[in-house]
């Protein structure tokens, strides 16, 4: 039996929606070498790593949908973000998602996986082949920037929030 305790869903969904909005209005203005950090990926990965795959997917689906709406893409981000949340939620059973370094690296890797899935979906939707390779360089920058932002956020949060829950999953066999 597994009891999953994580951050409350609705506030996280609200904050993630705000991040998705910021991602379309503000973040692109801060692009570095054509790449922007993915705040939505950070939110989804950190939530999924604590709340599990199912709850993570419940957050990823509306978050990805918002990105598709803002970006004018046909469902690529919805599918990619949900799959990433499921993967991270499943993977987090085998790791202790605390500290800053490991979750930050996980966010960076999630960006790469998410981009690969996104371009695969776009290929299925009729985009010419090879877009994932064309954007590979940008994806690497995005992964690095995302990992850095996630690391900074986790370090700052670790210093500011004293009443944080460090153990949120209890396993009983």
């Amino acid at each position: 039996m597994e009891i999953t305790v994580g951050p409350a869903y609705w506030p996280v969904l609200g904050w993630t929606s705000l991040l998705a909005f910021a991602q379309t209005v503000v973040v692109p203005l801060l692009a570095f070498r054509g790449a922007v950090p993915s705040l939505v990926t950070i939110a989804v990965v950190l939530y999924a790593s604590r709340a599990g795959a199912r709850h993570g997917a419940m957050l990823a689906l509306p978050a990805g949908l918002l990105e598709d709406i803002f970006g004018g893409t046909g469902g690529g981000w919805t599918i990619a973000t949900t799959v990433v949340a499921l993967l991270v939620g499943g993977f987090s059973r085998r790791m202790f998602a605390d500290g800053a370094f490991v979750p930050a690296v996980l966010c960076g890797l999630a960006v790469l996986v998410r981009d690969a899935i996104f371009w695969s979906v776009m290929r299925i939707e009729g985009f010419p082949p090879g877009f994932a390779l064309v954007h590979a360089h940008t994806s690497l920058w995005r992964a690095l920037l995302t990992a850095l932002v996630a690391f900074a956020w986790l370090v700052v949060r670790g210093r500011l929030v004293t009443d944080k829950t460090t153990i949120e999953r209890y396993g009983y066999t």
Binding site: A31, F70, P128, T138, R142
Partner: protein, 253 residues
């Protein structure tokens, strides 16, 4: 005793000297006077402050209001200065396309994976799918999605963007394809004598009339043996990384 003291004082006074008693008393009282004066001055200052407080508060409020007004004015002026280049671009675009619909860029692709921007004009403003979009400097892209109040514009640099193009000085036809950062001019006739710096304009097509500037040739790729056409890299004329105001060109009827 009193008479003795009085006589001593009188004698010192007649001799023109200060009596020890006077020196002692005045020395002691000087400190007391100093302390008293300090207290009195403090109290008087306090009373004056209390009296002036309503006036000071009003003056402070007036100064704050002045400061806020000046700060606001400064912000407005700074914004006007910052908008000058965009306003000039927009004015030039409106001059070239009087029927164009002015629009402001309000959003970007969240993940910067595709080169798409959102503008604040939609179907209710007369925007249609495939309308061309320009700034005063040149082509921006074309409308790919129209909502009632907003539209999405595919930038000319997006890898899925394709526009009919013409090298201006020789009238050589080509296709301008996005490369994510620039525009690639494909299928230029092998006989065409294109040069770096040549202006590339739109050909007559669905989104643009002929002659709208796309950019200038920045690099000509070497022609491989047996190739029937040549390829060049074009630097877009419009600054697509800092889009603010654009003009949508209604479709030709």
């Amino acid at each position: 005793m009193a008479a003795l003291i009085a006589l001593l004082q009188l004698d010192f006074a007649r001799a023109g000297r200060t009596s020890p008693l006077t020196v002692t008393v005045t020395s002691v009282t000087a400190y007391l006077q100093l302390a008293a004066a300090f207290v009195v001055d403090g109290v008087r200052g306090g009373i004056d402050t209390v009296k002036r407080t309503p006036g000071l508060a009003a003056e402070n409020g007036r100064l704050r209001a002045d400061n806020a007004a000046l700060r606001k004015q400064n912000d407005e002026l700074q914004e006007r200065v910052a908008r000058v280049p965009a306003a000039q671009d927009l004015a030039a675009a409106k001059l070239a396309h009087p029927d164009g619909i002015e629009a402001t860029v309000i959003g970007y692709d969240p993940e910067a994976a595709t080169h798409v921007v959102t503008i604040d004009r939609g179907a209710v403003n007369g925007v249609h799918r495939d309308d061309g979009v320009v700034t005063g400097r040149g082509v921006v892209g074309r409308v790919i999605e129209v909502a009632p109040l907003s539209s999405k514009v595919l930038l000319v640099t997006d890898a899925t963007s394709k526009l009919p193009a013409v090298v201006q000085h020789g009238r050589w036809w080509a296709i301008a394809v996005g490369t994510a950062t620039r525009v690639k001019l494909q299928y230029v006739s092998q006989d065409a004598k294109i040069r770096v710096g040549d202006r590339v304009v739109t050909g007559e097509g669905r989104s643009f009339r002929a002659g709208v500037l796309i950019g200038r040739i920045k690099q000509i790729e070497p022609v491989s043996a047996g190739a029937l056409d040549q390829t060049a890299i074009v630097q877009p004329a419009a600054d697509l990384t800092a889009l603010s105001r654009v003009v949508v060109l209604p479709q030709k009827i």
